[in-house]
Amino acid sequence: MKAANPYYTPLLDARYFQIVALAGILVYSQCCLSFGPNWTAVALAILAALAVQWIASKMVGLAHFEYRSALISGLGLCNLLRSDSAWIYALAAGIAIAGKFVFRVRGKHVFNPTNLAIVLLLLADSAWTSAGQWGASAIFVFALVCGGGLVTLRAMRADLTLSFLLAFAAIAFGRSFYLGDPLAVPLHRLQNGSLLIFAFFMISDPRSTPDRRAARIFFAALVAFVAAWIEFGLYRNNGVFWALALCSPLSPLLDRLAPASRHEWDGESMGGHLRRVLRLPGGEEKSARDVLNPM
């Protein structure tokens, strides 16, 4: 069982950092960049995320309304997804949250909620992503890295972010080395806001990635490899989103092959008795903590 984080206090939950960081990026894009969602779309996305979370929680009989995760999904979508209809943002938020309740294996999410919504809407050709929108401004990149680093370290999933970034950077630099390109080419490829948002706020999601560290590192490297293959081999855009969606079903498999204790957002503050695994009607296994606070 994972040792409880001795510095944990409920106020410093990683999700608060995540909410602040994502909201900061959203405000930055609204103030300083073209092509962000309008504020109606932002409001609709967040309201839809909260509403679906609340309704689904009631439907499955949860006592606890987990607004933070819903808020993170809503903000993440506003940062990454683009549509000219505000309602698509609401739909995306609905899909993201509903996906958490529908696609579950042993109490864990199969897909990252935001990633699932993005991929489905891209498939439906109802929206697009705007990977180039952030520019390559060094200051912004720096702020993002620091903010994101803080978030993932709090959630104890920095290993995912780091191994993904290292693997992706290795492939980008390796490819440029093979092609004989100057360093500016792979650096430009890595100075991409969407890539960093993905690395720090999406793949680092502890609820849809393997529990064991070695499995996480393998998973992150695999996502990086598939993303690079999609972008550099198939010449398709949005490689990271497709790659994560394609690899996500492996996460439950990796958990089965290499079991470890489950990440619990604020389990550290709770008594050990909550970590007991309950066997639910239908044979599903859940930790007691998941039953109380599953999303």
Partner: protein
């Protein structure tokens, strides 16, 4: 004779002469205001692309050559020589526009009409024959004469061989081109090489070079700009007119910014719209450190408001490569005009694009309001007169902010339509 090789977009090769801006295009905001601008039409649907490349090459035609990487070996019928007129039409249709409003009698209502213009323009022409021989790891995949161009499709094993083959065959590439060629070779790209065939050129009767068009099917949706930045002195200017049945086309690896729009500018800009547009663009591009792509127009081709030129007909769109245009049930064509000023530092990689489903409209539009000068003795009329100086000052300020022109010279140019000269503080006291 060796063709001088200075590359702009995609390896459009120019002679070193720089055509000075002659002030001929006053009042128009078209691409030809910019010296040595490359113009490209990208028609894209699914994996199919039609690329139209035009340069404003001016000089002896023997000096013209174009080298651009292409993802596939093109057949003879995948290459075509287009018409400059079609390119000029789409340039005029998408150009930033000055809209003129006339204030009505404030005691009655306000009316307006638009003033926007389009134009035709020309380049220049001459030529030279290529005598290619394969060797040095260079393979001539195909050789065609299309219109006034001799065209080769080359593949190569390494850049050194390609470079020496090109130089032996009269193409002078700039120093520094080799690593870029090597990168393209390793990416399994072929090279499309075009020069002017003087005999064919004189037969066409055109005085200028017509744009070259190629059609191919490939998931790669990019513009190779790296060759063009190798020896460029200063920034390159590129206009991309992208056509898609889906919606706006945007770059995935560079930031897109909107050109400032909907600003109210002083009336005298009517005679200086060209200067205004050039300086405003320069200021906007510099503000972004030459690292952004500017969106100047995004619109459904079916209509416009106001129209800088009539919307292009289905046959004109077909000429520009929009292969879906005019087919029954086809979606209307969405046009995106992008304006890029870039250097090798600010654009280290080739520009990769994507189609989006964004059909939101945007245009670079500047507003000129003529004040009402007739009699207006009602209370609203007096109020209107009192409001004019503040409005004129606002116009002067926004013009200065957009272009970087000095506010004093703007005020001076505005003359009596300008804001009144600032009074010293004591003049409020001793007013006689």
């Amino acid at each position: 004779m060796a063709a001088a090789v200075a590359l702009a977009l995609a390896g459009l090769i120019y002679s070193p002469e720089i055509a000075a801006f002659c002030g001929f295009y006053v009042g128009r905001a078209d691409a030809r205001l910019f010296n040595r601008a490359s113009r490209v039409v990208l028609a894209r649907s699914g994996d199919r692309t039609v690329l139209t490349m035009a340069s404003d090459f001016e000089g002896p035609l023997t000096e013209f050559a174009l080298v651009t990487p292409v993802p596939v070996v093109l057949r003879r019928d995948q290459i075509h020589v287009g018409e400059s007129a079609a390119l000029d039409r789409i340039d005029a249709f998408t150009a930033p526009r000055l809209v003129e409003y006339f204030d009505g009698n404030p005691c009655e209502t306000i009316s307006y009409h638009d003033v926007v213009r389009s134009q035709n323009a020309e380049g220049v022409g001459g030529g030279n024959r290529v005598q290619p021989t394969a060797g040095q790891g260079v393979r001539i995949e195909a050789r065609y004469t299309v219109g006034e161009y001799d065209i080769l499709i080359l593949s190569a094993e390494d850049s050194g061989g390609l470079l020496s083959w090109l130089s032996q065959n009269g193409y002078r590439l700039p120093p520094g081109a080799e690593p870029v060629l090597q990168s393209y070779i390793r990416q399994n790209l072929r090279f499309f090489v075009a020069r002017v065939n003087l005999e064919e050129q004189s037969r066409t009767g055109y005085r200028y070079l017509r744009p070259i068009q190629i059609a191919f099917e490939s998931p790669r949706f990019m513009l190779p700009v790296r060759l063009g930045t190798v020896n460029a002195n200063g920034a390159q200017e590129l206009f991309v007119y992208a056509l898609s049945p889906r919606g706006r086309i945007e770059s995935v690896n560079y930031r897109t910014a909107r050109i400032p729009s909907d600003a109210q500018v002083p009336e005298y800009i009517k005679d200086e719209f060209a200067n205004f547009y050039r300086d405003m663009f320069t200021r906007s591009a510099e503000r972004e450190g030459l690292s952004a792509i500017f969106l100047e127009y995004a619109w459904d081709m079916g209509w416009c408001d106001p129209c800088a030129a009539d919307p292009l007909s289905a046959s004109e769109l077909l000429q520009l490569g929009a292969f879906w245009a005019g087919t029954p049930g086809a979606a209307s064509t969405f046009v995106t005009r992008m304006h890029i000023r870039y250097t090798g530092e600010s654009f280290p990689s080739d520009i990769v694009f994507q189609e989006t489903s964004d059909r939101g409209n945007f245009q670079g539009r500047y507003i000129m309001r003529h004040a009402y000068n007739g009699p207006a003795e009602c209370a609203a009329g007096k109020e209107y007169r009192r409001s004019l100086p503040a409005r004129h000052e606002q116009e002067a300020q926004s013009l200065a902010a957009l272009t970087g022109w000095s506010i004093d010279s703007i005020r001076a140019r505005m003359g009596q339509n300008g804001p009144p000269p600032e009074r010293a503080w004591w003049q409020r006291v001793f007013q006689d």
